[in-house]
């Protein structure tokens, strides 16, 4: 009887040790799943904003769209609670949980030798209501066009029996979406996803920064 009683206690202790491992594993899986869900939302949101920017939606409207994005788990951190625009998209210290960055590149894909271009000087030769572009493939046979397009020149990317549309390179838009505020609550798992810079002293929790960016060709305002 004494022996059995001691054995039972031992099995309870064993279970206690094992249960900690199991619980950590289970909560780690759940945390990672939530994080992956957030990351997919960020990725999908970046793509949506990127496509809109590529077809000529302007920056203030892109920001409005970003505010309407539903990215679960983001901005739940108390660190963001005091910020006027806690979800999106105020910049500063501290900024909102969701940040949108839009960069236009001057007729090139981002990389060495590729410079950015002012959004006001975008290549809008495909535009119907912007300033018509002036890139005629007959005068620019190599496909290198003056930039920005000369005002008053004909808009060549319209279907026409006599004048084929231009083959000009066009600008590139890069939209990146960065979300902070997704949390990992499981102890021991958290250090894998966070670092000291995302664990604020005045914050009860640490958050994970998720980022995604898309690169698309600027097609002018075709909407």
């Amino acid at each position: 009887m004494v022996l059995r009683s001691r054995q039972r206690s031992q099995s309870i202790v064993e279970f206690g040790i094992i249960a900690i491992l199991f619980t950590l594993l289970l909560f780690g899986i759940a945390d990672f799943g939530l994080l992956l869900n957030d990351w997919l939302s960020v990725s999908s949101g970046a793509r949506q904003l990127g496509r809109d920017a590529a077809v000529g939606v302007t920056f203030p409207n892109i920001v409005q769209e970003a505010r309407a994005l539903n990215i679960p788990g983001v901005s739940g951190d108390p660190y963001f609670s005091g910020i006027p625009d806690a979800y999106c998209c105020s910049v500063g210290t501290p900024g909102s949980a969701l940040q949108v960055n839009i960069t236009f590149y001057n007729q090139c894909t981002p990389g060495p030798g590729c410079s950015t271009v002012n959004p006001a000087q975008l290549d809008n030769r495909y535009s119907s209501n912007g300033t018509p572009g002036g890139c005629d493939r007959t005068t620019q046979p190599t496909g290198v066009c003056p930039h920005p397009a000369a005002p008053g020149a004909p808009n060549n990317c319209v279907a026409s029996p006599t004048v084929p549309p231009t083959l000009c390179p066009g600008d590139t838009v890069v939209v990146s979406l960065t979300a902070a505020g997704a949390q990992v609550i499981t102890p021991l798992v958290r250090p894998f996803f966070t670092n000291s810079s995302t664990c604020r002293s005045n914050s009860a929790h640490c958050y994970v920064t998720l980022s995604s960016s898309v690169t698309m060709r600027f097609e002018g305002d075709t909407l």
Binding site: C157, L167, S212
Partner: protein, 213 residues
């Protein structure tokens, strides 16, 4: 006394078996998760590439050719068949000299894919590939319009063999999983409701690019 000998290890055995089962499930989930994440990333890159490339398709005018590109991917990744003019099959995908960007659909597809494939690239690069190998193949080619006659369509296909990180230990499971995605974009006149319309493009109609696949 016999029970006393057998009981002490009971919890550990159950835990060990349970741990093996759970880790097995976790490994399967990770492998499947890698597949779906990778598929999504590649699809995004292919969509952007197809939308970019179709603006340079033969439907939008002839192609500008220049010196052979220094980037081997422009040669390796592209097919060059031009349905509008099959007689003059140009050499492999070339870019105009001094053009930072590109001036034909093939190189547009390659450049835009490369601008978007960073996340997919690291997932496709498995331990079975030598370091420095680029694991994603790009195939870009114009196509006959799928359901919109006389509309230029361009198809970009991306493929890679991503590693099975855990399932490889199982017998009969390949070391890699093949992932292939396609995207087709069409360029055509803009219809009254903002859609792409088929048929011969009327004069002075704006062209728009849309994904059609």
């Amino acid at each position: 006394m016999r029970r006393a000998r057998r009981q002490p290890a009971q919890t550990y055995v159950i835990a060990a078996l349970g741990m093996v089962a759970m880790l097995g499930a976790v490994s399967m989930v990770i492998d499947a998760g890698v597949y779906f994440v990778l598929q999504r990333q590649l699809q995004n890159a292919a969509d952007a590439a197809a939308l970019d490339a179709v603006w340079f398709s033969p439907a939008c005018g002839p192609i500008a050719f220049g010196n052979p590109p220094s980037d081997p991917w422009l040669k390796a990744g592209c097919q060059s068949q031009y349905p509008n003019n099959p007689a003059s099959t140009p050499p492999e995908c070339k870019v105009a000299p001094n053009a930072l960007y590109n001036s034909n659909p093939c190189s547009a597809a390659v450049y835009t894919t490369k601008a978007n494939w960073a996340a997919a690239l690291s997932l496709c690069q498995g331990p079975n590939l030598p370091t420095g190998t680029i694991p994603i193949t790009i195939t870009a080619a114009p196509s006959q319009a799928l359901n919109l006659p006389s509309v230029g369509t361009y198809v970009v296909t991306l493929a890679c063999d991503a590693p099975h990180w855990f399932a490889r230990v199982l017998p009969g499971v390949n070391l890699t999983m093949h992932i292939s995605v396609s995207s087709a974009a069409a360029l055509g006149p803009l219809g009254p409701n903002g859609q792409l319309v088929g048929g011969p493009p009327p004069a002075n109609t704006r062209l728009v690019a849309r994904l059609v696949l």
